[in-house]
Subunit: 216 residues, 2 copies
């Protein structure tokens, strides 16, 4: 339902942490922390991928990375959170891309262009971790719920950053954009060939207008 605005504020958590094209932090402390976070996120995907998200106790992950529960929860909000690291990285990068994009012409094209730019910017490591993450999400309702919730937050953020007079149409457009993205992922999921994702996304966008006039 994700109603915008009235939502209770969420605590910030370490500032987005692992961004893909990260400027390496200078202090030793920060780098150490980053390494722990990265190890947790990486191991989470492989471990959950092997034994299932619901079927893997958090302790299994902690044991493998040799980190205490207390430390884990200082770095991630929840078990779902660490599993969805790749997804969050994508959206973080996307928001940056939207900020950087030139806002002229049809807004739909701006949103599409920003995503295409984002997909180009993501590195090889991300493309290795994203597909397994999607499969995790597809297999665990709990994870899916968290992913959708995160998406809703991104949408609110987009509305905030793209603010225009007519709120309703902007909200609709952003919802449509995310919807098209989800449909695209559905089609991409079986093969997950990185090169095909932009083409699939363009195809989804091209189908949007005709979808509205689809006959029974």
């Amino acid at each position: 339902m994700h109603i915008a605005g009235t939502r209770a504020r969420i605590r910030p958590m370490p500032p987005s942490a692992l961004s893909t094209s990260a400027e390496e932090p200078v202090t030793l402390r920060e780098r150490k922390k980053q390494r722990t976070r990265r190890a947790l996120a990486d191991t989470a995907v492989t471990l959950f991928g092997a034994r299932g998200f619901d079927g893997t106790p958090l302790d299994a992950l902690l044991e493998q990375v040799e980190v205490s529960r207390r430390t884990f929860f200082r770095n991630f909000r929840s078990k779902e959170d660490v599993a969805l690291t790749a997804v969050k990285q994508l959206w973080d990068a996307y928001l940056e891309a939207v900020d950087a994009a030139e806002k002229s012409g049809p807004l739909a094209d701006v949103l599409l262009g920003a995503m295409l730019a984002t997909l180009e910017r993501m590195d090889e490591d991300w493309y290795r971790r994203f597909p397994p993450t999607l499969r995790l999400v597809a297999d665990s309702p709990a994870l899916d719920g968290h992913a959708l919730r995160h998406c809703a937050e991104v949408q609110e953020e987009l509305v905030r950053r793209l603010g225009v007079p007519d709120r309703l149409e902007l909200r609709l457009l952003i919802e449509f954009f995310v919807a098209a993205w989800h449909c695209t992922l559905d089609e991409w999921l079986p093969d997950c060939a990185p090169g095909e994702l932009p083409a699939l996304l363009r195809r989804s966008f091209a189908s949007m207008t005709s979808a509205l006039t689809l006959e029974a």
Copy 2:
């Protein structure tokens, strides 16, 4: 992300239970069970509404209704589940309405018409419980995640029931429909005047095409 098809099957739970226009079950046993479920769902909305969803332990609800934890979990999948009863009732009714609708002309109109019909069918009791439920969802990320997840399941079901040659466009349309519905609820939420909901929904639908061509 809600990828269709590959999703793990969910256990059925008592057949939807509390439907709004329910044919009363004959046996005393069934009626008793229904009463318990109804009491749990009703009390949940008021109790969570008063003390917050996250701030209310499940035990508080169980104590008030005088039901053991074991019994509760035989009737509802989770704490979130019971809180979202009104939402689930709506979608259950909507799926029925879609089945009953005549599938001719633009599919978007079919989907819209089915929702308008559903809104007319919902009884007064439901209109009393739905707005508080929405506010609960707006205040608790966990609830929102569950609600979105449920929505995704409904969408998969819709694709299944409306199956047409071109899957992509159908999926897109259904996503757009749900998106429009969510936007409508956002606008309805502040006042929650039952009579205004259909008009708001029509307005959202009318804005769909222009949203796609919105200029920056």
